[in-house]
Amino acid sequence: MPLSFYLGLSLIMFVLGALGVLLRHNAIVIFMSLELMFNAANLAFIAFSAYHQVVTGQLFVFFVMAVAASEVAVGLALIVVIFRTKRTINIDQLNTLKG
């Protein structure tokens, strides 16, 4: 299995996640697309780690997962707080920074 196949898959997952961030306007779905992007990066790490037969890549994935988890916690807390004031999580409604 050539390495490039795995990297190509990772690339497609990443782009799909990016499109999700750009095109959806439910804030939670955007977060989920963000997780997809993280996953794509993890896949790339694992592939390289298997290619070079080194364990470093997998350890890095471990750390990425931990950080992603904490980030999701804080991000969802923020969404909850925003929902309390604006009663909506459509991010198009969050446009008060317009200038």
Binding site: A18, V21, L22, H25, I91, D92, L94, N95, T96, L97, K98, G99
Partner: protein
Amino acid sequence: MSINDAAATNPIYQLVPWIILLPAIGVLFNMLLGNFLSELIVGLVACLASASSFVVSVLMANALANDPQAVRVHLMDWISVGNLNVDWNFRVDTLSVLMMLVVSGVGTLIHIYATGYMHHDVRHQGDRRRYTRFFVFFNLFIVAMMVLVSADNYLMLFVGWEGVGLCSYLLIGFWFEKGEQGLGNAKAAKKAFVVNRVGDFGLLLALFFIFWWFGSFDFDVVMNNAADADPIVLTAITLFMLLGVTGKSAQLPLHVWLPDAMAGPTPVSALIHAATMVTAGVYLIARSAALYMSIPQVQSIVIVIGAATALFAAMIAVGQNDIKKVLAYSTISQLGFMIVAVGLGAFSAGMFHLVTHAFFKALLFLAAGSVILGMKSGSAHDHQPEANHSDTIDPQDMRNMGGLRKQMPVTFWVYLIGGLSLAGIPPLAGFFSKDEILSAAGSRSTLLLGVLLAATFLTAFYIARQVLLVFFGTPRSEDASQAKESSLIITFPLIILAILSVVAGILNSPGNHTLDDWLESSIPQNLTVEFMLPIAIISLFIILTGLLLGWTMYGRKSEPSSSTVDPLSGMLGSLYGGLKHAWWVDELYHAVFVRPYQILARFLAQTIDLALLDGIINGLAQFIGKSSRFFARLQNGYVRTYVLTLFVGMTLIVTYLVFQ
């Protein structure tokens, strides 16, 4: 001709800077303190400043009488740039001291007169605070004129030249809010300044040529090397200088400012526009004698201009009704005589006429001022609480005068003396000076003599007309009949000037060449003129004919009303209209020069400046505004837009890196 530095000679020459400093102190004193002091103190300080300047001039003359060698007194270094070294030096030689004496002497008399005249004038015009300002300007004029005549190089002379031009502007427009439509005086002042400027342009070009060829502005350097100079350069220098002279001395074609300058108060007309400033042109040519004598072709042009002006202005003076305008055109005409004299090389004849003319013309102007004051006081006298007195008549219009010799006897007699001196009746001063010029002209060309004799005839005629209209017959208006003689402070200078107009002839009367000898050390190229009896007799005959003609036309029948048609118009018909309107020269200049310039200025201001340039600037500003509003739409507040921007940017960077 060599010049001594002051250090080597009589130490009294060191006093000469005071001819400028004393009037300057007068200026500063009156400028700073004048408004807090009484009119008496202000006038006294101004007269003392002028008088002390005269005293210093007398001391200089005294010293020169013993040793007529020219002296240079160095005051300060002025410009020292590269090859150009110009210092502020005073030149004490017979020519400059002659001018200094005339300027300060006649100037002091006019200052004394003005203290009395302006006292009445500011009350008639209604602004008593202007008194101080008048004397500040008057003393400033003395300063500038002294700078002009005492200069040792052309550049200092030019400084004085410009200075008197400025003072002329300030003083003509003294009552700046008055005149026709509230603008007339200001416009007259502006016209004087602008026309002078045209002349100054010529003088500046002459100065440039002088420096370019001779390498220095000093009179000595230029005069000593004048004879060897290239004729083309000499022509350029003298012709451009002539342009400056026509501007300052009101010759054709730049004479148009002098009649309008009569808008200023009468002492101004007397001092500046009769005795001193307008003679600066004659002085300049006399000073540049070496240059002009080296190029006879330009001398011919000078003569032509002078003679044409003399006749032209004398003609116009015949048709004027304003008492001061007659005298203005008379000044232009007499200056023409002086220019002819210096053009012929008879510099001492020209200077002689300059001196006598200063006396009798100042006298005539001051006496005219006395007449005007009398008319105004007559009008104030019968302007008692009468509400139905409609309009005030012009106190300067001769058609409103008449019979004043009974009400103002002193004025009448001095005016008569001045008028006869102007006409050239012996043994008054004017006869001798004018005769010298006629003799010089006669020895050169009969045509020239003919022109000058015609001007002499007209001179006699118009002055007779004026004296008869003003002082004889019956008063033609209420104001004239109520006129009173002026006070002593006004009549005293008149008397002094009348005496001078009588006796000044001995300066250069036939057989007594005082002035010729006096000027010899300054102008070695001077051509002395011998008294020619035939010419004297012919001119006397012509003068008497003119006087008689005036008497027949104006003197015998009294004119009961001011609206009676002038008998001259009956005789000359349409020519009279031309005389009255000064041959429409002003209108011609207006159409040819002023209107196109105004159109051009309007075009540049509106089409180019307003529409184009402002349009570009405002358009640029609007463009910035529009583009910034366009770009402001990028900040629409939507997070997704920002993310998109990030993403696209990242993509582009990656693309760039990949394909590098």
